[in-house]
């Protein structure tokens, strides 16, 4: 128990730095990507990786508060990211109840499933007045977000090994 608490305490500064870096990334334009519509959703990528890897054993309430913080700093509607994060947590709970994710391919598919569901919730709850969805743009955004998510996952794994 003491070991677990010490590890959580060590992981906290990393969580803080990762969230700050993500906030910075979310406001930097990627030169290769011309359209704003296909920019990856860094926060979804980050939290999918954090929840799937059970970083710091984040529970529903902490995720809800972090979601509200993301809404405040980078969101467009209060409660939107809070909703997405608690959904990611709950779906991850259900997935890990019925499946075991052991191999790297399995873990990658777990990340992709969670990122896909999150992006769909974001699309549904968005307040843009789009009646039609640009499918190509959405698929591009999904692909890039999934790639960023896998990168975050590798980073978290690396940080964990360091701790």
């Amino acid at each position: 128990m003491t070991k677990k608490n010490t590890q959580e305490r060590h992981e906290f500064p990393f969580l803080f730095i990762i969230i700050l870096t993500t906030l910075l990334f979310s406001r930097i334009n990627i030169p290769v990507i011309n359209s704003f519509q296909i920019m990856p959703d860094y926060f979804i990528a980050l939290f999918v990786s954090l929840i799937a890897s059970r970083f710091m054993n984040l529970n529903l309430y902490i995720l809800f508060v972090l979601g509200l913080l993301v809404d405040l700093l980078a969101g467009e509607l209060m409660g939107q990211y809070a909703l997405i994060l608690i959904f990611i947590y709950f779906i991850n709970f259900l997935l890990s109840k019925y499946f075991i994710f052991k191999t790297p391919v399995m873990l990658a598919s777990q990340h992709i499933i969670l990122a896909t569901i999150s992006l769909i919730i974001l699309l549904i709850s968005s307040i843009s007045y789009d009646l039609s969805i640009n499918t190509n743009m959405f698929i591009m955004k999904w692909v890039i977000t999934c790639l960023v998510c896998l990168l975050y996952s590798k980073l978290i794994q690396f940080l964990r090994n360091k701790i």
Binding site: L23, L24, S26, R27, I28, N29, F36, Q37, M39, P40, D41, Y42, F43, N59, L60, Y61, F64, G67, L68, D71, L72, L73, A74, G75, E76, L77, M78, G79, Q80, A82, L83, I86, Y89, F90, F93, S96, K97, Y98, F99, I100, S125, I127, S128, Y129, D130, K141
Partner: protein, 280 residues
């Protein structure tokens, strides 16, 4: 704690979070509904803008350092050249100003004789567009003036080319502009050389549009649109855009007008915010 017989626990031994999940889900949905109806997000952001201010400072730091460094290494001859260029510009502008002064006096006299109110004089403040230009995948325009400089939500933003947008969020030291091409932007306009009133709205891309313009009214490609001023929010006569495409609607009773705005946030760095109008 042992699981009950009815509870199915396969690979996850943690307790089911279903109750907490439903409670938090309801709170999130309530918050979203409240925000959509009452706009609480803007109010909270306004009060907590100090949290974002350091981030904006960090993002603009490289640009500010490079600019101050450039200023230091500018040679005397370069400064002399620039000074000469600006002096020439001042002379040109003063000549133009004399001509405009005459036109303005004539205009005032005509307006008085025709009993038309004059509301063209405006108070404004200059501001510079700063980084970031993107926020979580959405394009934004930030300026370096905020509540402390007298900026308020809703004030129109212009530059030398025409209308840029409207203030949609004001923090202490910075503000966010809603560009005219945004889907949440509408402005009443008239044609430059006729009295056809209409409302244009952004299409979310690079253009603006008038979705239902009566087909019996004449319209030409290239016609310039200006603010009509009937909303008493925008002064009359600010250039908005030029019609680039006229498409008949399926029922042939209306046309769809596509308008290219004169301003593009990528091509300028200075803007003016209209604080209020001085009526004569």
């Amino acid at each position: 704690m042992k699981p009950s017989k009815k509870e199915l626990r396969l690979f996850n031994t943690a307790q089911s979070p279903i109750f907490s999940f439903i409670i938090l889900l309801l709170i999130s949905l309530t918050l979203m509904g409240l925000d959509y109806r009452k706009g609480i997000h803007g109010e909270i952001r306004e009060k907590s803008s100090f949290l974002i201010a350091p981030l904006i400072y960090v993002l603009n730091l490289p640009k500010n350092i490079s600019e101050s460094f450039k200023g230091l290494i500018k040679s005397k001859s370069q400064l002399f050249e620039k000074n000469q260029e600006l002096q020439n510009k001042v002379i040109d502008l003063s000549i133009e100003n004399q001509r405009l002064g005459l036109i303005e006096a004539e205009n005032k006299q005509l307006r008085r004789s025709m009993e038309i109110n004059n509301s063209l004089d405006i108070n404004f403040i200059n501001a510079e567009i700063i980084l970031p230009k993107i926020n979580n995948g959405k394009r934004i325009i930030l300026i370096n003036k905020g509540l402390n400089d007298g900026i308020k939500i809703g004030q129109p933003v212009i530059n030398n080319l025409g209308l840029v947008g409207q203030i949609k969020f004001a923090g202490g030291t910075f503000s966010e502009i809603n560009p005219i091409t945004s889907k949440k932007y509408m402005v009443p306009v008239i044609f430059e050389k006729s009295t056809d009133n209409m409302i244009t709205k952004g299409n979310g891309g690079k253009y603006m549009e008038v979705t239902m313009f009566p087909s019996h009214r004449e319209v030409k490609i290239g016609t310039i649109l200006m603010t009509s001023g009937i909303d008493s929010w925008y002064p009359k006569g600010i250039k908005v855009g030029r019609i680039i495409k006229v498409t008949p609607k399926a029922n042939n009773q209306f046309n769809h007008l596509l308008i290219a705005p004169f301003t593009d946030p990528v091509t300028f760095s200075q803007v003016r915010i209209i604080l209020d109008k001085k009526n004569d």
